[in-house]
């Protein structure tokens, strides 16, 4: 064990320098050609394939796998990108075990689905390595669409709009584009600057301008955009973080998991990134797992994930939960944060109340326990950063119809900030893409927006 692991409090440099590299290496190293052929041969090329129906972007999975199997990875990539221009990132971050791979008939047959995500990465990696562009822009329409947020939803919308011949101006609050792909995903899922390479790949179609460090509500208003552009797509995600509603949650050592993840992704040298010796992560989703696992990988001695309900209710996939356990994270269920314990300034632990479902309602049993901690991460969900600025909301998100249309004419929304679908990269891509089609129809003079 590296000596740094035992450093008290929140400290950097817990590991030997080379350990950081191996700890944060690609979680699923890419398939080589032979591995891809062997895996592709396992696909049954199902009729009306269940995997394809389970994919939020409806990628023709049997077709792209057959293209891989026949030595045509470029054809496979085109099949993928036709439906999902961020197919490269989705291949890395999709919870495939809950989507295509869960639906794979081989999952039913033998509990071993075809590795669809890995195959998708194989094909998209080859195409992106060669810089192959599969789409040409239509004749310019003279229209310009504003896209707020250069994350998965915004990029997918922008690409499809560009294909249709519209120009796109994107605004992103952060210095880099990519949204959660760049700032919100565990490092071992997207290595080697892939998120930025993907932004470059998507925007290489042309007609897309990105203005970074430009936030809605701070640097411009929705009215500004409506006045200046032919249409507006909002895909800025969820900028706010839910509070624990526990005592002392402003104490030093309590942080938002999303900020920790972002900081980690942007860190030039992980050895300089401080992490607690004992870390508690509150939450049961992917963000909680990403924060917990990465805390462990940074050298935290004890990492505990605490979730107020049971294993089955966790939104983190089975795979993610297993990954956390395999990396040494302890997952504790049925307890809710009550009080952050401090020595007056810094966190020393967290007091948790045991919970139970009584008549379908989550209640605290009255018993409590404490877990010692130097650092507490909050990962219990995110919220819209603003009040919506005049848009109708539903459940705290921008209300949209099935085409992504908001309550305001000429304004669409998609991705995490809008209603509908799970908050997944692939869902955001589907929503952005489909909103772009709707915007295009609107701009072409079809039905109103």
């Amino acid at each position: 064990m590296a000596q740094g692991v035992l450093k008290q409090g929140i400290a950097p440099g817990r590991l030997e320098p080379d350990q950081y590299k191996s700890n944060f290496a690609d979680l699923h190293p890419p398939l080589d050609r032979h591995e891809a052929y062997v895996e592709a041969d396992r696909c049954y090329f199902c009729y009306d394939a269940p995997c394809m129906n389970a994919c939020p972007t409806s990628i023709d999975i049997p077709l792209f796998i057959r293209e891989i199997a026949t030595g045509n990875p470029m054809g496979a990539a085109e099949t993928i990108f036709e439906q999902n221009i961020l197919g490269g990132m989705c291949a890395r971050v999709c919870p495939t075990e809950q989507l295509c791979e869960e639906a794979c008939v081989r999952e039913e047959a033998e509990g071993k689905p075809v590795k669809i995500g890995q195959l998708q990465r194989y094909a998209t990696d080859i195409a992106m390595f060669h810089g192959a562009q599969f789409f040409e822009r239509a004749e310019p329409t003279g229209k310009t669409v504003a896209v707020v947020g250069a994350g998965p939803a915004g990029l997918a919308a922008a690409h499809r709009l560009a294909v249709k011949g519209h120009d796109v101006v994107m605004f992103d609050a952060r210095p880099k584009s990519g949204g959660l792909n760049e700032y919100g995903i565990a490092s071992y899922k997207s290595t080697d600057g892939f998120a930025q390479r993907e932004v470059d790949y998507v925007t290489a179609i042309g007609g897309i301008t990105i203005e970074n460090d430009k936030a809605l509500g701070r640097d411009f208003t929705l009215e500004d955009l409506q006045a200046k552009y032919s249409a507006v797509f909002l895909g800025m995600g969820l900028g706010g973080v839910n509070a624990l509603q526990a005592e002392n949650e402003d104490a030093a050592g309590v942080a938002n998991a999303v900020d920790f993840i972002a900081e980690l992704r942007q860190a030039a040298d992980l050895a300089n990134l401080a992490v607690g010796r004992r870390v508690v992560v509150i939450g049961g989703g992917m963000t909680a797992v990403d924060a917990a696992v990465q805390s462990k990988l940074l050298g935290a001695e004890e990492v505990t994930m605490v979730y107020r309900r049971g294993k089955e209710q966790m939104s983190a996939s089975e795979f993610e939960q297993d990954l956390a356990a395999a990396k040494g994270v302890t997952i504790r269920h049925w307890m809710a944060p009550k009080r952050v314990l401090t020595d007056g300034q810094k966190v020393t632990g967290i007091e948790l109340a045991y919970t139970a479902l009584v008549d379908g309602k989550l209640v605290q049993s009255g018993e409590v326990t404490t877990i010692a901690a130097d650092q507490v991460f909050k990962a219990i969900g995110q919220t819209l950063a603003s009040d919506g600025g005049g848009l109708d909301l539903a459940g705290g998100k921008i209300a949209v119809d099935e085409q992504g249309r908001t309550s305001l004419r000429g304004v669409w929304a998609g991705g995490d900030c809008a209603t509908g679908g799970d908050d997944l990269t692939v869902t955001a891509v589907a929503e952005g893409r489909d909103a772009a089609e709707s915007i295009h129809a609107y701009l072409a003079g079809g039905s109103n927006g």
Binding site: H34, Y37, V38, D41, R42, Y44, F45, C46, Y47, D48, A49, P50, V105, R106, E108, A109
Partner: protein, 440 residues
């Protein structure tokens, strides 16, 4: 324990698994290894006449086609007969036969189609103590351009002539190896029999180009930018070989002529099938070239266990047992009605049966039930073709079920009579005549 001892035209071997004349039997080193591994016999790689031996290409000699995971399904070769001096081969054969008296050692021979050539080589071979000779009338590449191999095997008159010379000039049993590169395999078999052959062996390799290099636009294997057709073998050729073996076995003119079965035999099961269709023993090459000699252990064990399980005491009990069930299409029972049945517990819902039937056959498998993905055979459309069984990825999930006598065939509206009736007497047959049953 089943008795696997084999007596093929008087040549005895401890089991019916011989290595075919090919690269694995080119020299003492390999053959010794084969015998150590347990092979019952070998047919030594084909000897040519005395004098400077043939030469082989110095580039690739093989090409292949693959299944999933690069499983070799078919192999093609352009190698010629032995390229070692005759005397070296003869000396080694003699020594190996002395070392392994209980194993069969057969000499494959290919010399020009001249009486003197055969007359000259036969005594030399006989002197080695070999148990028999196999006449290579089969190789389709290279040697055939020089009037040997398949060039002889494609002319029944030549076959008969050479067999006759061999029977005249040696006491050794003569096995005539046939080429499949011919329209009707019965003709060369009949010719060999007419010449007095003791047995035939088949098939030799099939003329083939396994693939084309799409960068060089040249056949594979490519030698300095050019390719030539080779001889195809391996699992892919088994069905062709089985049919040819069966054709000879059931031809009244050659029925009972001993057959050494060759062609894609890879497992004990393949061997058992060849034996059931009339092969007195089998010869193996590609499987050994793919996996090494050790596979014979699986073959011996598998054949023996299957025979024990079925109560077959020895090879005679199974040899030719399937021949009487090979018939002409016209004698198939048209009153036999079968329908596909899908076992819903085994079905993994891939839908391949549905799309195969829907797109390419009889629209007899539905895809949905109560709004859910569900594949079911429609008996009123199913003609019992078996395509769904063949495309289903799950063992035994789809089976063909014969309709019992007295039940209604929903497709035709006719009740199953159970009364044998074939095309020869069918009303739609303009040549119909009173019912004829196939000869036993």
């Amino acid at each position: 324990m089943a008795d696997l001892r084999n007596n093929f035209v008087g040549i005895k071997s401890p089991n019916p698994f011989w290595l075919a004349s090919a690269p694995p039997t080119d020299k003492a080193y390999n053959v010794e290894r084969a015998f150590k591994a347990g092979w019952g016999g070998v047919v030594w790689k084909t000897l040519g006449e005395e004098g400077p031996p043939v030469v082989n290409v110095n580039g690739p000699r093989y090409g292949a086609i693959f299944g999933a995971d690069r499983r070799l399904l078919g192999l093609n070769n352009i190698e010629l007969i032995t390229d070692r001096p005759l005397q070296v081969n003869l000396q080694e054969m003699k020594q190996v036969k002395m070392n392994w008296p209980d194993r069969a050692l057969i000499a494959s021979i290919m010399v020009p189609c001249e009486e003197e050539a055969w007359k000259a080589i036969l005594p030399l071979v006989e002197e080695t103590g070999a148990d028999g000779i196999e006449l290579n009338f089969g190789c389709p590449h290279g040697m055939s351009e020089r009037g040997m191999g398949a060039a002889v095997g494609q002319v029944p008159e030549y076959i008969e002539m050479v067999v006759r010379w061999c029977k005249q000039y040696t006491r050794m049993p003569v096995i005539t190896k046939l080429t499949p590169n011919i329209t009707d395999i019965r003709k060369p078999a009949r010719a060999a029999k007419a010449g007095g052959t003791d047995a035939v062996s088949l098939i030799n390799t099939i003329n083939s180009i396994v693939s084309v290099d799409l960068d060089d636009f040249a056949p594979v294997p490519t030698v300095a930018g050019k390719g030539t057709h080779g001889g195809y073998c391996g699992p892919a050729v088994k069905p062709i070989a089985l049919n040819m073996v069966a054709e000879i076995a059931r031809d009244p003119e050659t029925h009972g002529l001993p057959i050494s079965g060759i062609g894609g035999i890879t497992t004990w099961r393949d061997a058992a099938e060849f034996i059931a269709l009339g092969s007195g023993n089998v010869q193996v090459c590609t499987a050994a070239m793919t996996y090494g000699f050790k596979i014979v252990e699986e073959m011996i064990s598998g054949l023996s266990n299957w025979m024990d399980e079925k109560g077959h005491k020895d090879l005679d009990a199974i040899t030719g047992r399937a021949v009487r069930n090979v018939t002409d299409w016209q004698y198939l029972d048209l009153e036999y009605i079968a329908k596909a049945k899908i076992d819903q517990d085994l079905c993994i819902k891939c839908g391949r049966c549905h799309i195969a039937c829907e797109d390419t056959s009889h629209q007899a498998i539905s895809k949905e039930k109560d709004g859910k993905r569900y594949f079911e055979v429609m008996n009123d459309e199913c003609v019992g073709c078996n395509l769904c069984v063949n495309v289903c990825p799950v063992d035994d999930c789809i089976t063909m079920e014969a309709l019992p006598v007295g039940t209604l065939d929903e497709r035709t509206g006719r009740v199953v009579t159970g009364k044998y009736a074939n095309w020869t007497s069918h009303p739609n047959n303009p040549m119909a005549r009173p019912a004829v049953e196939p000869a036993e």
